[in-house]
């Protein structure tokens, strides 16, 4: 038999033409795997507990003596004083309280572990020979991390809403500008704020994913990412670094409060979203460049 004949007669066994949709199987598997991890659930539980603690603290203070309520976090919006009047403000308070640390820390853990954790356990080589494809795997990892950003933010928001409804009255609310808006309008803004907060984490997610491609140790990648989150926020407080600060991913984070103005003040919100997109592009490309060229020996 000539080689040509063989090539014609001996086709590879069946292997039906793959459907392009099958490629999303990895993404689905990634989401399922991420949210089945005990660690992910623990992080979400911690995030859900924060509004409960804030709610109870505010409630017990107001019970102790009228006129209490304290002040908002340094430089942060002073939503907390309004919580006793309207439970919906607990949503804004909880998001403002978790955005500087708890949320980015949780994202840092998930993103940092994304590639490095798989390398650590050796599962990365089996995903790659499956073959998941490096670009496709990275894309699935990034998408799953962003899904986690959204879920984590919504967990905080929903937990806060539930606690707020339970402990405090609900109703029409006063914006930062002093105008009154209906409860339904307020609820809509709360959802919008949650989405903006989730989007604020996109930059950290990309940064964490990039760090994750640099090492084979999941723990090291998580620690580095969380360390970067903290460092950047400290640097953001140092006046001498004024010129650099607009480029820190956390610089415009608290701009979400501007959604509670009437009319909404968009400038910083847009700065924030643009900055997050920039981080996603820069560190996403860096992660891609690194991961597609990397020797996988673990």
């Amino acid at each position: 038999m000539s080689p040509v004949e063989t090539a014609v007669t001996a086709q590879p066994p069946v292997v039906q033409k793959p459907n392009p949709l099958w490629t999303f199987g990895l993404l689905r598997s990634e989401l399922v795997t991420t949210f089945r991890r005990w660690r992910t659930l623990a992080l979400l539980a911690v995030l859900a507990a924060v509004p409960v603690l804030i709610g109870i603290a505010v409630k017990s203070q107001t019970n102790g003596g009228p006129g209490g309520g304290g002040h908002g976090a340094d430089g942060g919006p002073a939503f907390i004083t309004q919580v006793t009047n309207n439970g919906l403000f607990l949503v804004f308070t909880a998001l403002a309280a978790t955005l500087p640390f708890f949320l980015p820390m949780a994202i840092g853990v998930i993103a940092g572990d994304a590639i490095a954790g798989e390398a650590n356990s050796g599962t990365l080589r089996y995903l790659l020979v499956a073959p998941a494809g490096r670009t496709r795997l990275l894309f699935a990892k990034y998408t799953a991390t962003m899904a986690f950003c959204l879920v984590a933010t919504l967990v905080v928001a929903i937990s806060a809403l539930a606690v707020g409804a339970l402990l405090f009255p609900l109703g029409d609310l006063t914006t930062i500008s002093g105008t009154r808006i209906s409860f339904a309008d307020g609820l809509g803004r709360a959802l919008l704020i949650a989405l903006v907060v989730a989007a604020s984490l996109v930059g950290v997610a990309a940064l964490g994913l990039f760090v994750s491609t640099l090492t084979n140790s999941g723990i090291a990648a998580m620690a580095t990412t969380v360390g970067l989150v903290i460092t950047v926020q400290i640097l953001d407080q140092i006046p001498q670094l004024h010129a650099l600060q607009p480029y820190f991913f956390s610089h415009y984070w608290l701009s979400f409060a501007d959604l509670m103005r009437d009319p909404v003040y968009w400038d910083d919100l847009i700065h924030n979203l643009g900055l997050q997109a920039l981080y996603a592009a820069v560190f996403g490309s860096a992660a891609w460049a690194r991961f597609t060229a990397k020797d996988i020996t673990a």
Partner: protein, 330 residues
């Protein structure tokens, strides 16, 4: 490299060359130097014929796993080329790898997932795997390695051998044209080893080429049709197992109570490398007629209980090729 590119353009990007007679794996001067400077594989020219069960032998640190990593596109060769199923690696990973099942350096599993869910995840990672048949294929793979009853257990609760079996199941999720198994019997009980051997034979009889690295030489001898021997990153020899074992000369063994007399007579007869042990004298078989040697022994009143040439095992061939030393080469 150049002449291959032209052939590839003709074949089109989606067709994995399916010429049954072409080698399944062919490397040319394949070399890998790790970032630390370690030269792990040095100018490897390996040819694995289609349909063979190919044993890949070598002492610890000789570069077997490194070679497999290059073949699977996990690491980039420093120089040289590797073609798998007729396509260049790592460039054609997407087209080639769906046809390959691999077990590399032991199994790796998600401890918090059950055995079945582990396989579902690995199958989902393959964009050419049909999700509608996923559960049945996973079930069949579990059955094939004898894990059906343990399939619901978390993988972290698996024993070493069970993990190894699950890793093997992952390699069998689809019909494959090539199976690459890096020390597949590591951690298995004797029963498990036998099952792997029969599995390998069964797959080979279906036409799957099996590329198997191992330290267990009798295992290679039992299942492999071809073998290659590595030492310190270099290929020492490759070919059909029968030829390799034949290459190492057998030993003439004389069993006798009079060992010292026998040794003296044998030396007088001009045979080399005489070794005396308890009631046996062994030596390199002389080129002359063996019957004459025996006659000389009997004439010298050596009481001969047994006389004959023991065929060389692959182990002898292996030791002869890689040296007796136990130390791992740095």
């Amino acid at each position: 490299m150049q002449e291959w590119s032209a052939a590839e353009a003709e074949a089109g990007p989606d067709v994995v060359a399916s010429d049954r007679d072409a080698p399944v794996i062919a490397t040319r001067a394949l070399t890998k130097r790790y970032r630390g400077g370690q030269l792990a594989v040095d100018g490897l020219d390996l040819t694995v014929p289609a349909g063979s069960v190919f044993g890949f032998l070598g002492p610890n640190g000789s570069g077997k796993t490194t070679t497999i990593r290059m073949l699977m596109g996990l690491i980039e060769p420093t120089s040289g080329t590797a073609r798998v199923l007729g396509r260049p690696m790592p460039r054609s990973s997407r087209a080639v790898l769906p046809h390959i099942g691999a077990l590399i350096e032991g199994p790796a599993l998600y401890g918090f997932l059950s055995g079945r869910d582990n396989l579902l995840r690995y199958d989902a990672a393959d964009p050419t795997a049909d999700p509608s048949t996923r559960r049945t294929r996973v079930g069949a793979a579990l059955d094939r390695v004898g894990l059906t009853t343990a399939a619901g257990k978390k993988a972290k609760a698996y024993s070493l051998g069970m993990k190894q079996r699950l890793g093997l199941a992952a390699a069998l999720l689809q019909p494959r044209r090539l199976l690459v198994l890096d020390e597949p019997t590591n951690g298995l009980d004797p029963q498990g080893m036998r099952e792997i051997r029969s599995l390998v034979r069964e797959l080979a009889s279906d036409g799957t080429t099996v590329f198997l690295s191992s330290h267990l030489l009798d295992e290679i001898e039992q299942v492999c049709t071809h073998a290659a021997v590595m030492a310190q990153g270099r290929l020492i020899t490759q070919g059909a197992v029968a030829d390799l074992a034949a290459g190492a000369r057998g030993r003439l063994v004389v069993t006798t109570p009079d060992v010292s007399d026998a040794a003296r007579v044998l030396k007088e007869q001009g045979v080399a490398d005489v070794v005396v042990a308890e009631d046996r004298v062994t030596c390199e078989p002389p080129d002359r007629e063996l019957a004459d040697v025996n006659a000389a022994l009997v004439t010298a009143n050596v009481r001969v209980r047994g006389f004959g040439v023991e065929r060389a095992s692959l182990e002898d061939a292996f030791v002869a090729l890689t040296g007796e030393g136990f130390d791992v080469a740095g």
